[in-house]
Amino acid sequence: MSSASDGRAHVVVRDLTMAYGSFVLMRDLNFTVNHGDVFVVMGGSGCGKSTLLRHLIGLNEPARGEIWYDGENFTAADPARRQQMLRRFGVLYQSGALWSSMTLAENIGLPLGEYTDLAPAQIREVASLKLALVGLKGFEDFYPSQISGGMQKRAGLARAMALDPEVLFFDEPSAGLDPISSSLLDDLILELRASLGATIVVVTHELASIFAIATSSVYLDVEARTMTALGPPKELLRSGNESVRRFLSRGGTAAPHAATA
């Protein structure tokens, strides 16, 4: 729709309904993420942003609806095909989710060892390179517990990029980071999009990030239990509906001039 940017559709979500048992979290989600987009999923706490991400990467099954990648139905794919499709994804989890029994180099090397026939020395070289990209050169032999939360997150990003993915998913990248680190992470995300040409899907409610990085976005409304706005956040702030404008302006439009809506 409004996100008719440069490219072809990469991720398409059709009629998605998410539910836990009989409790419907969100219904009738329809949106398209184009190649090269930085697509932000935003919404208040507990609205199901992270659950939407889990659906997109196949950790939860939709109650109804489908998810398509590059014209291929991910939801209906058989497990083997799904595993192949998963290899084109990179996921940065909220707390990094590094495997705590392995060093950083081993964390990044694991997917490389699984899916490429590189020799161990080459794998280590690639791992060092990825760590250098996120500013962690020299930390190859550290265990996740030996580094700070912000560094864990960056190492998680290095692991997500290990296989040069086509789509990168970020679950609340700035959660638990100080303003400077989180803005550095935003810069890194933009840099990655520019240099790798990856499509990026970010779940966040951090306004500064949203305006800094998003080329398109979807707003999940916790009251309406569905999406109520779709498009670039700056546009939504100008012409979106009442609830998305309140969200994007920290409740600002709820003040006196809300009557003009």
Binding site: G58, L98, L110, E114, Y115, R159
Partner: protein, 379 residues
Amino acid sequence: MTADAGSPTLSFSRDGDATLVAHLSGRWHLQRDMPSAAAVERELAATPPTRLTFDTAALGAWDSSLLTFAGDVTELCARRHVTVERDGLPTGAQRLLALAEAVPERQGARQGVTIPPWLGRIGLSVLAARAPVRAMLGFIGEITLALGRLARRRARFRVADLLLLIQQAGADALGIITLISFLVGLILAFVGAVQLEQFGAAIYVANLVGIAMVREMGAMMTGIVMAGRTGAAYAAQLGTMKVTQEVDALTTMGISPLDFLVLPRMIALCLMMPLLCVYSDVIGIVGGATVGVGMLKLPLRVYYDQTLAAVTVKDLAGGIFKASVYGVLIAVAGCLRGMQCGNSSSAVGDAATSAVVTGVVFIVSACGIFAVVFYVLGI
């Protein structure tokens, strides 16, 4: 007058017929024996006024106790159609009360507890019992598939992980196995000696200890120790990995958590349990010999020969077989509970507890089944 020091008191006066004035004085801090809204209720019931005001001239310091009191009184008066004027309360308290009443109670947020009748409860618990059974069968099915992949050399895990797990489930367990097995052998010999000595058959303590350890107790005690030690550790490790999303990270990398995490743990336990069992047998017999030589004054050589004559290879093989099966059961219980773990730190604790309980139940049930089967087969 005793402004700040006095205990909280509540008294009433009338301002004409229509107005009730509540005088609050002293320090209103949360503690026992605070004046309650019940006193106001009695006062309201005695002669119903139309208006209630507060007088806090003598009120000292106050905290939430004043707010809950004022809130209760407001509710009470609303029911009895008495207007409450809060002007007399301190300004801070007025503002906090206004804040608390700003957002109306969300409908349905307060969870009402409805308890179905007892017959219904029985039905519900029977229905609820099906889910864990189905989950367990599903898990066993998935493990079987993973073993199939292992046999075709398609399962993927790190050899370094396996070696570490083998060390943890093997060498690291020797201390506790030594202690428990030695004591079990000692106790068996002790109980047996008291009885057998009455018949002058003290030498048969060697048979008793040897056969009991090798056939049953070695495998059983190893199993129970390992369920408490390693089964619980597996559940806690896997449960924590679920909480920190490490398991999700494996899945989205296209690596099966079952292959990567569960298989090496199962293999480690299945390899180590028979070895630990043989070790436990030997230590148990040494424990028995300690009593035989030390208390019954049997020569060590005689005790040794008697044990050798009593214990057959068939007994030993049976014990080792049992230990291997217990190893599988402990690993299944630990990994199952770990992978089922919920999303909080208390869930990890529950998973570890449940892994030990499940493991011990499995072992004891299997032990009973083996006893019958071995008896029927004449082993």
